[in-house]
């Protein structure tokens, strides 16, 4: 019986991944989720995941635990059982906050990964190990980023990036004894089918600021592609790469790639055109699209706002930084290996020009809020 152990199933990607895996199961299979919390919380979370998955082709269970704890905080009997049953591990748990300390980021992202790898090594079936990383382990590097090993030297913009680079290095080391696949995600956005997403974060913050007329400028090169990857495509691609398309030891950019991405300079005009089409009140404001400026100009603008001490605009800029810092180091995530691996999968990703309106429409309808 196939047993798939998944961490991080409550994250934006994780919950979509469970849905994708559950719907792709054939034969006798079960999914075991590692969920944090007491019995009641775990049960509630499990119910939400099952509800999100809908028609699963396998049973979905949960074990209480925490990646930051030795042996994942799972009781001994269950842990031993997992080592006998598990045939695949999908490690999606991560602290994706951009402002955490090095210690906090390392605790979840590095130690947590080490703990999950330890389980994998103890499993008798030598399970396939899928590690969900981030393409932004590239940190401050610019230009074409290949689907290859990256160093842990940096430079990095955040402790999140640094910790994910270290975690990736651990997984790469483990590939000598385990069949691992490193799956680096780009900027994850809503489903290309209907725009639904678990949290309106990252670029959605930028969109929301533009909706309120508070976005003056974005740093970067107007022609640089911004890699938005819809969460449903990402989940389905990972499912394929871990099943039929599995290749041990490979690293993939689970990204849209430059050829399916919009240039930075085209994104906000398109987003704002959708706002205007959907909302007469927005149209009446006539807010200008933000200008795309060099990182140096953007930094001067931030410094000036700091200098004059405008608290609201300062807060706006701080909120933007998780997104804008990446724009300041223009890069193009190659998806050559991913594209080859997905041949025959039947998966297709629209161009961002086609799915971005769907994302914006959903965000506007939902008022940038996720219903409970």
């Amino acid at each position: 019986m196939e047993t798939i152990f998944i961490t991080g199933s409550h994250g934006i990607v994780g919950r979509e991944l469970v849905r994708s895996v559950a719907r792709a199961c054939t034969g006798r299979a079960r999914i075991v989720l590692l969920l944090r919390g007491d019995a009641l919380e775990v049960r509630a979370k499990l119910m939400r995941v099952r509800s999100h998955v809908g028609d699963a082709r396998c049973e979905i269970n949960a074990v209480p635990g925490d990646v930051t704890s030795p042996r994942l905080g799972i009781d001994e009997g269950t842990y031993e059982q997992l080592t006998r049953d598990v045939t695949m591990i999908l490690h999606a748990a991560a602290d994706t906050g951009f402002r955490q300390s090095r210690e906090d980021a390392g605790r979840v992202n590095v130690k947590g990964t080490a703990h999950v790898l330890e389980l994998a090594r103890l499993c008798v079936h030598n399970p396939r190990f899928g590690y969900l990383g981030t393409a932004f382990v590239a940190g401050g590097r610019t230009g074409e980023i290949a689907e290859d090993a990256c160093g842990v030297e940096g430079p990095f913009f955040t402790e999140y990036e640094r910790s994910k680079a270290f975690a990736e290095a651990l997984v790469r080391d483990a590939s000598r004894s385990l069949p691992v696949s490193i799956l680096r995600l780009g900027i994850v956005v809503g489903r290309q089918t209907d725009g639904v997403i678990g949290t309106f974060d990252g670029p959605y913050r930028v969109f929301k600021l533009a909706q309120h007329g508070l976005l003056a400028m974005l740093p970067g090169d107007p022609s640089q592609p911004v890699d938005f990857v819809p969460v449903d495509f990402a989940a389905d691609a990972i499912t394929w790469l871990m099943r039929d398309g599995f290749r041990a030891g490979e690293t993939f950019h689970v990204c849209a790639g430059p050829h399916r991405s919009l240039p930075l300079g085209a994104i906000m005009p398109l987003v704002m055109a959708r706002f205007a089409a959907l909302d007469p009140a927005f149209r009446a404001h006539g807010y200008p699209a933000p200008v795309v400026v060099t990182p140096e100009v953007f930094r001067d603008f931030v410094d000036t706002i700091e200098q004059v001490g405008n608290p609201r605009l300062r807060s706006v800029l701080e909120n933007l930084q998780t997104f804008t810092r990446h724009l300041s180091a223009p890069k193009r995530f190659s998806t050559a290996r991913l594209d080859r691996a997905l041949e025959g999968s039947g998966l297709s990703l629209q161009h961002a020009q086609d799915f971005l309106p769907t994302l914006v429409d959903h965000a506007v309808r939902a008022r940038f809020e996720v219903s409970a």
Binding site: H212, G213, L214, L215, A216, M217, A284, H285, G286, Y287, P288, A289, P290, V291, V293, T294, E296, V297, D300, F301, T304, Q307, V308, G309, N310, R312, L313, V316
Partner: protein, 327 residues
């Protein structure tokens, strides 16, 4: 494609007036007339402002016209229209005394005393019609130029139009507006048909009423400033049939030097082309910055005959205007 009218309309003469009394950022702050600390204001490029004191706006306007006459020896007798611009709401009516203000409910007639007609009377120009231009904030003078140009094209009977703007802040008012330090002052120009000097090649004006309440929409207005400033400049340049690289000198409103360091890079222009010599010395003179800076840039050799010059200004409301002139 250029949208220059068939008739050449140009600026024959320019003049300005700054009241002699000055105050430093330190004295202003000490008396509670700035919000930001003096060292921060100096960091933004400001040092002093000019304060009118008891001088009225009409007196400043007359002084600006006298300066214009000194510089150009023009014949005011040819003026057939006065366009009087007031940036501040209070600049569009004659100041009333405290006693008159208290009596306004009983006697509202002082509310109908306007500076444009008073100026006409004091200048002795009974044959010049008067039109007041208000509600454009610091863009008032640009509004005057734009209307003058259009009227000279539309009405063959008009020959010379006197454009004037004059503003003063209340004596004890805070002189810091959206991180800019404000001076009192006035400016004047004679705009004529078939005038080879100061030919107006193109204009632009963007108005976004969503920012009409500059206080409650302050942050959104700050966010809109750079994108709309860029748009206004590029539209004016295009309307003149030019490209941004053709502009020899950018005559700014005296927003902070810091803001111009940013805007010049957004406009993708050489920062050295922006005439910023006056910011520290005079601050932002409401609607008169462009004229003051243009005149001074000419006298310092920064603008030479034949140069293409962009005059840009932003005002509450919000308005963004740019006029392209061939010196």
């Amino acid at each position: 494609m250029a949208m220059t009218p068939a008739l050449a309309v140009g600026i024959q003469a320019l003049g300005y007036y700054l009241p002699p009394r000055t105050e430093t950022v330190e004295t202003l702050h000490a008396s509670g007339r700035t919000t930001t600390r003096p060292e921060q204001l100096r960091g933004l490029g400001y040092a002093e402002v000019h304060v009118a004191g008891s001088m009225t706006t009409v007196e400043m306007a007359r002084s600006a016209i006298a300066d214009l006459q000194r510089r150009s020896d023009v014949d005011l007798g040819r003026v057939s229209l006065i366009l009087y611009g007031g940036a501040l709401a209070t600049s569009s009516v004659i100041e009333v005394s405290a006693e008159q203000h208290a009596e306004l409910e009983r006697n509202p007639l002082p509310l109908f005393r306007f500076p444009g007609t008073r100026l006409q009377a004091e200048l002795g120009l009974p044959h010049a019609a008067v039109i007041g231009v208000s509600q454009l904030a610091c863009n008032a003078f640009h509004g005057c130029l734009r209307i003058a140009r259009a009227l000279l094209v539309a009405e063959p009977g008009l020959d010379s139009i006197l454009c004037v703007a004059a503003d003063k802040f209340p004596e004890h008012a805070n002189r810091e507006v959206v991180f800019n330090l404000m001076s009192d002052g006035a400016c004047a120009a004679i705009v004529r048909r078939d005038e080879p000097r100061g030919r107006i090649l193109g204009t632009s004006q963007i108005t976004r009423g969503t920012y009409w309440d500059g206080e409650s929409r302050h942050d959104a207005l700050v966010a809109a400033y750079f994108p709309l400033a860029r748009q206004a400049v590029y539209e004016a340049v295009a309307s003149a049939g030019l490209s941004i690289g053709d502009i020899h000198c950018f005559v700014p409103h005296n927003f902070s030097v810091r803001s111009w360091e940013i805007l010049s890079r957004i406009l993708e222009i050489d920062h050295a082309k922006v005439f910023l010599d006056n910011v520290a010395r005079i601050g932002h003179v409401v609607a008169s910055d462009n004229v003051i800076n243009y005149v001074d840039a000419v006298s310092r050799g920064r603008i030479r005959p034949g140069d293409k010059v962009a005059l840009f200004v932003t005002g509450f409301g919000a308005h963004f205007s740019c006029t392209i002139v061939e010196a």
